[in-house]
Symmetry: C5
Subunit: 281 residues, 5 copies
């Protein structure tokens, strides 16, 4: 791995730990995510949380990254440009999240890393794997680390009949039966492994329900680093923090979290708690 | 945001207000739009309205922009080249409006800005998002602002059964039940937000039925500027002007209007009224 | 419009009138079109008609244009290279006529203009609009005028149930009920208008059944010039010539005709009559 | 037509006659074609036939052409690189034979000409026409002649109901009713004509059942040269030679034959007879 | 064949024999393949087997190849970069394995050869043939040998009704009826032949059930070299070694094996036995 990529990744994972603020929900979910805390629709508000909360990176699409270019640089929070995205308005098919910006766009916007979502199991998996692999090759050549949002999803997986045939061998382990497909340990581990095989420097995956099962996700992805996706806001701070402790104990380097921070009444309080858990300071 | 883009946008939004004349209907709707006022099929007639009515921009496809290149420059009305378009002759599928001209074509034709329509919710949404994002990157690099026609449309949205599942969470607010999908406040706000996330400098959206709901569209799109799409001719001038007042009060910078101007008996009268409302002069 | 394009168009439309010989039927329809007059399968025979009949252009595919390069130049009949085409052997879907040659190919073959067919209303309309728009941009940059074969066609249009919904507003005018979809005045006018909006210098459209309805086609396409497509051989010379007189009176600049010339016993006789009607000499 | 292309074609059609050995069956049909004569699976065996039998060209895919580069050059049999191909393992759809190698690949391998199959009537016809046309333009620019395998095929044609509608006008002539679709005279003639219209220098078509009907194929393709495709091994040498005599009398320049040579016990005997019929020596 | 390609291939096939360690299963099958031997999820463990077991090549995706670049070079085991891949999470369609990395990526990673899987018989066969052919042309131009994973698969083949029609002629030989489609001798031989026709230097195919039938696979692929794919772990070492002896006797140059090595208790024991069989030392 070249030194430049390592140096850039060090900025997002200082002391081997990552606490990333995700803010691509305006595109992925739309305004409904801002209704819990109306201030959260403004990047200035979010950027303030990122800076004061001590986050080690902020995930943005190119529009916000460009329009708040000066403020982002001043806040000194590393920019992670999300290179693909999709809205939830179209629902008629397996998910495909097309590449929207290039590695060169990321460099021009001053990004420290780039991100890309792969919906493994989707009928469009091959297009996403191809785009993701090309992004990794180019980003590494140009000195940028790459984070994979590895989210198993699609009819092949959710269709029980298909699933029972497909996953019979994969699911030897004991699983909690109430987990969604993209929280199933074997499936999450498989998705994380795909990130490694394609060359991602970090993968962002869902919590798998237990420390033990997450440990295997970390094992199969290693040496690619793993962060837990924050997901929908939990009822209490403790519920969320307990998951974070699990994944850290399992070997993950941290979290990439959005709603569990900025949908709360006081995002700085949960940020402070998170920081304690992740960095111990 | 680079200075050149700002300077160009200033021409279309002088004093922070925009009054744009839309004239892509010959392609989008065909001759039926000209039947209310047969003179309206001629660009010379339209250009005269634009110039004498004090419009701050005119939206054209490349054919008219090229054939009337000299007259457009003489009229000193900024040209907004619409980079994509579709006819209404094909109706068998979700809408896709393909990119037809490049940013370089726009520069060669002397355009001050470019426009592009995204049908969010269409099964071809990913293609349009990709084209739109690439146009924004290139246009900004070359000093041109970009306007997004953000129109939610497609079977995913119009199909009630799908919609009820998809939009349940999105539609927490009280909605008028007679609104079309592309006038539903949450949906319009989502589409406008996509424009911001992708980097549009201005978005053109449908009226959402009330000042209050439009205020949230403006909020979620901010700092991307919002203009209201004129839409089909209203029964009276007042009905149309009342909507314009609403959206301005909600924070929009103005309108992009076609049929409500040039389908009327005397387009200069409504233009004068519009100017009063928008610029107060 | 640049001077070079105008100069080239002048060759095809001398004195503001065009009399173009179409000879792409070997590809579009196959040998059945040659059975009325077996000599018509040979380009040498056709070229002789073009030269002696005083045609102002001849439409060919690249194969014949290349193989008879010397003879075409000697005949001094301007070459119009048809850039797309399709056979009638595949019938299972809406029509798509792919681009086969480039503008540079046309220049290399000494063409004075290029042609392209758009089947508006086809499910592949977006692909054809995109190819056609790109051809126009490039051809104009390189000094060649562009002629659009604007032919509305496809299931969306021919399906009565769909049509009744789609075209209700478009068809306000009184129509002859026995017209095919691609002869319906509103639809033909819409297709012609698309040619203008995309930047065509000339459009070739079907006869719409009357002088009056064709006048509106010309109006909506203006300033793009209009020629009538010759179509299948009429029973008598007079029937065909009567249509030509109609469209000229309606403002068309002439015709692009194949079968109505070279399927007749003596093509030079009808050519002479045509010339009288179009040029008055 | 440029002189370099003519010079190269002269090598394959010396004295205006062509006797081409086809050897792309390992890809198109697989090992079953080698079972009649097990030695035929080896190119060295085939090349020996080509050289000693006096063939004027040998058709190969790039793999064999590259691996036996030295031997092919030493045998002094002109190489015709087949640029597209498909296996018969996939059978679920209309045929599409994708371009696999470029004109530059052909030049690098020392080819004297290139070949390409078009399945006219297939739903993928437009892709093949586009690839074929581009190959012709590029090959001619670089001095290589192009041979079209013109094979009408696809559901549109084979489906009787569709066919009856589509071909009613095309099939005015008296046809033998037991001919396969790709042997129907009108259809073969149409396919050959497409080769001419796109610019092929030679077309390879199936036998149409009679001298008379093949004469019209030659007429409609002229001046593109025609060779008969050898097809499956006939019961006797005479049956095959009788067809060859027919097509030569009809104006064809020769044959492109594989199985009817190398599936026989002694390929050199039939080669000698063929040579007598084609070259008279 | 150029000298550089030969020289590189010599490294993987020293003394005309190949013993290749396959390790792309983390992508192709996911974590379930690692459950037999948990250490096998780590490339360091695998690389140690490759080095100490005397393997002549190791197959990896770009992610692992890049992250363990230094260790791979130090182990002096030639790297074979697998250029395409797919997960087994998507199961709803015929298989397509998209190209993920380029020949230049392989060179940058220090690869000695590249690999690519073709699923002949899949509805996406044409895309894979096209990618594979282009990779071969480019790799050979740049001095790298190419290995084809030739795996017949897809609904056309597995569907009995279709198969009975399609393969009737192909399956003249006596077949064991319990073979999977991709182990059927004629089908495997066809796939191997496609590798030759496209230009592969080596093909990796499944065992066909007998020495005799494998001999014909080797014959039809010649002079392209053949290696047997290891496949799922057999019950005993002897069962696997017996197959290896068969294919070597049939003319194959060796094996490309993964699970039959690293899923065993002690991979070095089977490696030693394999080496004895393949190299006799």
């Amino acid at each position: 791995m070249n030194a430049k990529v390592e140096e850039m990744k060090e900025r997002i994972v200082p002391q081997g730990r990552a606490m990333i603020l995700a803010y691509d929900q305006g595109f992925e979910h739309g305004p409904r995510d801002f209704q819990e805390n109306e201030e959260s629709s403004s990047l200035e508000y979010i950027l303030d949380i990122a800076r004061r909360g001590g986050f080690t990176g902020i995930v943005l699409h190119a529009g916000l990254a460009e329009k708040y270019d000066r403020q982002i640089r001043e806040a000194k929070v590393p920019l992670i440009l999300k290179l693909n995205g999709k809205s939830e308005l179209y629902t008629g098919d397996d998910p495909y999240s097309p590449q929207l910006y290039s590695v060169d766009d990321a460099l021009a916007l001053g990004a420290t890393a780039v991100g890309y979502t792969v919906y493994s199991g989707s009928k469009y998996e091959s297009q996403m794997n191809r785009e993701f692999a090309a992004i990794i090759r180019e980003a590494h050549n140009k000195g940028l680390p790459v984070i994979g949002w590895m989210y198993p999803r699609g009819k092949s997986l959710s269709d029980r009949e298909t699933a029972s045939k497909t996953l019979k061998m994969a699911l030897k382990e004991q699983e909690k039966t109430d987990l969604a497909i993209d929280e199933t340990p074997s499936i999450v581990a498989y998705a994380a492994r795909i990130g490694l095989e394609l060359g991602a420097d970090m993968v962002k995956v869902k919590y798998t329900g237990s420390l033990e099962s997450f440990r295997r996700v970390v094992q199969y992805a290693s040496p690619t680093q793993v962060v837990m996706s924050g997901g929908p806001k939990t009822s209490t701070d403790e519920e969320f923090l307990s998951r974070v402790k699990d994944v850290l104990a399992a070997g993950a380097v941290g979290v990439a979290v959005g709603r569990n921070v900025w949908q709360r009444k006081d995002p700085l309080i949960i940020s402070e708690k998170l920081r304690q858990v992740i960095f111990g300071t």
